[in-house]
Amino acid sequence: MADVNRGNRPLSPHLSIYRPQLTSITSILTRITGNALLLGALLVVWWLLAAATSAEYFALADSILTCWVGDLILTGSVWALWYHTLAGIRHLIWEEAVGLDIPTATKLGWAVVIGSVILTIATVLIMQGL
């Protein structure tokens, strides 16, 4: 590819040029939530391993998952899980070539954002009752 002219072609617009929009922010958040869920998932695996090992080890893991840092990570993970799930449904809809026009895409974006917050609050309230 040595003969490809890289000198005077126009550059494609980059992230810094675009005004942040609901569609782009919700897309980026899908990637961030999906990958950040690794932390919560590893904590769950660790908690299960501790429960399968001994009462002392379980007490340690359980105390870390229920301290304020653990609470923060788990509540954040619940939001990330609901957000990523709703954003995933949006992707499954888009893959059928439905809802790709900008007004519908914007509505779906708000549905994902607002829906994830409502589901997180509902989950936290239900968990406190159980």
Partner: protein
């Protein structure tokens, strides 16, 4: 190279011819997780912070044990495929290969550890 026409240089370069498999794998695991994630949140979630004996008794039941194990298997498979695209987008060269291998190993190791733990709790 200058004796090659533009068409000749472009021919065959268009597609990796294997992308559909990755897309389909993500679609299958995402559909499965659509069912598993709500089940997991409300069967596994309530056990955090519960007494040890109650946790042991709970996971000896088939439903919570199977939902937890299945969510970890499918979830980490979905994560492995998803994080691969993240790495491919932002990391290049040898570092890209290193991180894809490392995250693949981590995903399988975490899934295996979780399934072992659930199995031990369920069957002891």
């Amino acid at each position: 190279m200058r004796y090659l026409t533009d068409y000749k240089r472009a021919k065959g370069m268009g597609s990796a011819k294997s992308g559909v498999h990755h897309f389909w794998a993500m679609k299958v695991s995402s559909m499965a997780l659509l069912v598993l994630v709500p089940l997991f949140v409300f069967t596994f979630g309530p056990m955090i912070g519960k007494p040890y004996a109650q946790v042991q008794a709970y996971f000896s039941h088939p439903f919570p044990a199977i939902v937890t194990a299945l969510t970890l298997i499918v979830g980490f498979k979905h994560f492995k495929d998803g994080v691969q695209v993240l790495i491919e987008d932002y990391v290049h060269g040898y570092a890209q290969k290193f991180w894809i291998i490392a995250m693949t190993c981590l995903s399988y190791a975490a899934a295996a550890t979780g399934v072992f733990a659930v199995a031990k709790l369920a069957l002891q």
